[in-house]
């Protein structure tokens, strides 16, 4: 176990409660970079825009450092064996996101838009709240397996969360998608972001119980294993309801995300490849079905196929009653103008994307100002978060933890793909946001909660096995020869 006791002079080593390295100091060292890099970026933006170090530099640096420090201390105390990378990576992304949002706040073009208010202070407030949520999760969720008890409550919560935006008076239709709720004093929240986590808990709890039934008690039909209705029924119903709700809310991105998460977890639980085939068929059918009657989605597909035409149409007064958007073409131009190394912080013109520049299209700003190098770094950071999540799932000792970890990290990976692919014109836009980078309170809160749960699972997974009961004869009898 511990290599220090395994030196040539000691020919024997003892099985004992010698702790696995907790890696908390590694985490702290990485956090220093995760705070320092955004602080330098912040200074850089100020120098580029107004030739002076921004006046808020000190408070920004201290604020971010304080938040990271609190998070670190909470992890050190309540999840000492947790994965050391997750917290610094999330902190770095969140910090860079704040810098970019502040940078876009300085844009005269965005300031002139109707309903402008600086997004950075709000984002900073939500980041503080999110770190509080992060701490609360780690402090009160001592063991993730507790969540199993709430399988059906989770199902209920997820459905409520998804239905909320459709409640009259509470929901808000913003730019064609009805996925927000207005909370007086707090602004708009996107309950779908939280539903992602709650639904993962439900899927994990349910699948853990039913996985054998789903995998084994099935009939073979046309080369595919079809499970019994009573096993699959509830889960299919929940999934179908959430998709239907999302269709009514015209939020294809989240539907896709839930569906992908569902298929991944089902596949991991049952170990049956046929589920993948089944899932792909269903999602294809669903996508075609929805796209055939939903004008909001048709518009997006059209914009994806020919962004230049959409751009031209958005410049003209058209009479076809369809809202044309130049955003995608503007985003492509932003990426292209950034080139390999980018224009440098604060020196791009991604504000030409208008109101979505700091939310849906935040990656385009990185693309223009940090270039190919910067975007690749960002994508790799996301990739690393996903990798740590999957590793946590592999290391977890209980099926519930495995399922929950893979569900959350799979959903995270899908969200990155759908959003980044959308703003880069690889797939149609779906209107989700880059976790941590984009301006938006619910997104920051939910994603920090997600990281907290992953950290909790990884802590449980990496915690060394409890020490065997002390036996006075142990040293005399249990001798293991070094191999």
């Amino acid at each position: 176990m511990s290599s220090s006791t395994n030196t040539p002079t000691h020919h024997t080593s003892t099985i004992g409660a010698i702790g696995a390295p907790s890696r908390r100091n590694t985490e702290l060292a990485l956090l220093v970079f995760a705070v320092a890099i955004p602080v330098f970026a912040y200074a850089n933006v100020g120098l580029a825009i107004s030739d002076q170090v921004p006046s808020g530099l000190l408070s920004y640096g201290l604020g971010l450092g304080l938040l990271a420090g609190v998070a670190h201390l909470v992890v050190r105390k309540f999840a000492p064996y947790a994965d050391p990378l997750l917290l610094p990576l999330a902190t770095l992304l969140n910090g860079l996101g704040l810098v970019v949002i502040w940078r876009l706040d300085q844009s005269k073009l965005l300031q002139s838009l109707r309903g402008f208010s600086p997004a950075a202070p709000r984002q900073l407030l939500y980041t503080a709240l999110a770190i509080a949520v992060f701490a609360v999760v780690l402090i009160f969720l001592k063991d993730h397996r507790v969540l199993q008890r709430y399988t059906y409550i989770s199902m209920f919560c997820a459905l409520v969360l998804l239905i909320l935006p459709l409640v009259p008076g509470l929901g808000a239709n913003i730019y064609g998608a009805k996925i927000w709720i207005r909370i007086p004093g707090l602004g708009s929240l996107q309950p779908g972001e939280f539903a992602k986590i709650v639904l993962a808990v439900f899927f994990a709890g349910y699948l853990m119980v039913k996985r054998d039934a789903l995998a084994l008690a099935s009939r073979r039909f046309m080369g595919l294993y079809l499970p019994r209705g009573r096993d699959l029924g509830p889960i299919l119903v929940v999934w179908a309801i959430s998709i239907l709700i999302l269709v009514f809310e015209t939020d294809l991105g989240t539907s896709l995300l839930f569906f992908g998460m569902f298929v991944i977890m089902l596949y991991v639980a049952t170990e049956r490849t046929s589920w993948i085939v089944f899932g792909l068929l269903m999602s294809a059918a669903g996508a075609v079905g929805v796209a055939s009657f939903e004008p909001h989605i048709q518009t997006r597909v059209r914009a994806w196929l020919d962004p230049m035409r959409e751009y031209e149409l958005s410049r003209q007064i058209t009479h076809d009653g369809i809202l044309h958007s130049d955003q995608l073409q503007q985003s492509l131009w932003a990426f292209g103008s950034g080139g390999t190394l980018g224009t440098g912080w604060g020196q791009g013109h991604s504000d030409l994307i208008k109101f979505a520049a700091n939310s849906d299209f935040v990656l385009a700003t990185f693309g223009e100002e940090l270039g190919l190098a910067g975007v690749m770094a960002i994508l790799l950071i996301y990739g690393l978060i996903v990798e740590r999540g999957v590793r946590t799932a592999l290391a977890a000792r209980d099926p519930f933890g495995k399922l929950l970890a893979i569900g959350l990290s799979g959903a995270f990976a899908l969200q990155i793909f759908v959003v980044a692919g959308g703003v880069m014109g690889l797939i149609p836009l779906t209107g989700m946001t880059m976790p941590f980078l984009a301006s938006g309170g619910s997104s920051v809160l939910a994603n920090w909660a997600l990281i907290a749960i992953l950290i909790r699972i990884s802590d449980t997974a990496r915690r060394p096995a409890p020490a065997p009961a002390t036996n006075p004869d142990a040293e005399m009898t249990q001798v293991v020869r070094p191999s």
């Binding site: 131009w333 990976a413 690889l426």
Partner: protein, 494 residues
Amino acid sequence: MNKPLRRIAIFCGLLVLTLLLRDNWLQYVRADGLKDDPKNRRVTIARYATPRGDIIVGGDPITGSAESSKSGLNDLKYKRTYKNGPMWAPVTGYASQAFGATQLESLEDGILTGNDDRLFFRKTLDMITGKEQQGGNVVTTLNAGAQKAAFEGLKKQGGKGAVVALEPSTGKILALASYPSYDPSSFAGNTDDDAAAWKKLQKKYNPADPMLNRALRETYPPGSTFKVVTAAAALENGKYTSADQRTESPLPWTMPGTTTELKNEGSIPCENATMRVALQYSCNTVFGKIGSDLGNDKMLEEAKKFGFDSEQFTPVRATASVFSDDMNQSQTALSSIGQYNTAATPLQMAMVASAVANDGKLMKPYMVDALQSPNLDPVAKTEPEELSRPLSPKNAQILQDMMQTVVEKGTGTNAKIDGVTVGGKTGTAQHGVENSENPYAWFISYAKLPDGSSPVAVAVVVEDEGANRDDISGGGLAAPIARNVMKAVVNSKK
């Protein structure tokens, strides 16, 4: 459960890999195309982010840059200004924050903004030393005096028209005037006033079409000035070998395959006249018959050698002049006197005069002499280039002799200059249905100094709807303008 987990891990890795590939495609492979897309607003922002370099004539800039008004949302820092805008507009084109850029302003945008790759070293140096990026200069071949004479002449005339002057030995464009013109300063900015000024200049609202570059982009029937080309074809094809050889030209002459007689203007001595006399009096019958006898192919071949039927790039593109390739004999006869389908830009006719003056060698016309970096280091220099040889030196001498007779004692006496030998040809081109509209007055000419060098060839066209029809003639309206332009060039040589 670990086997499917590993597969999911690979799947997630593939998702990220796909994004990385797409990003490389977007930001590396396609980057330049997206970056330089003229619809990409950043192109405009970069164009006006720093003071633009200048377009220079004879050592003096004819352009400038001023800071735009800071009001509103304008993200463009500097705007273009022009000195004597209407006079130079056919040379510079315009660079407008709202309406884009044309001609030299657009073609040499890279040098003028300082973004050109040839300025890369300098740009990098400026970036390191923290200096604001500067634009380079475009040095033109134009002659300010000639341009002024051309523009003032057209303005005094009052009708529409254009003047092109070339240096025959090099192809340098010395004057390029179009009238009526516009002031590119009036819509260089991004304000409502600029938009109103722009609207007023559009053909839709302004039938005079002031933004049309008549020197390069408008073709006119060249009328009798085309007889120079026909005479060149006769000499080159050996139909006649001297200026004073009697031609077989009956009067009246009925065009082959028709019962129509080709008419001359007034009663002039055209029957079996020599080519010299025929050019002196501008005999339609003589040159019509020469063209008809030579046939479409030989005429077309000669016209093409002079530059017809192809676009010219100066580097600003000039419309191709027309000589058709599918005409019967009578149509060829009409085309050979510059009517029927024949149409020429003023630049084209200046090229004809220039080739004759340059002993038969036609030089490629150009108007950018050199490009300079912001600190006036040379970046590029245009070398004169031969385009073709429409005439042998001997035949060119014969044609010069004939054209000088036109100015000495023919229709072009208005172009005489003391102490300088001038050769020219007038033209009065009919146009409109049944020739109902006022004709175009043409004059092409060149000047020769006592030392035998020829510093300038010029083409003038005037379309004057206001003038009394009978007063319109190439010699009356166009020749005085040509004379002043030639005089300005000759004086600047002294």
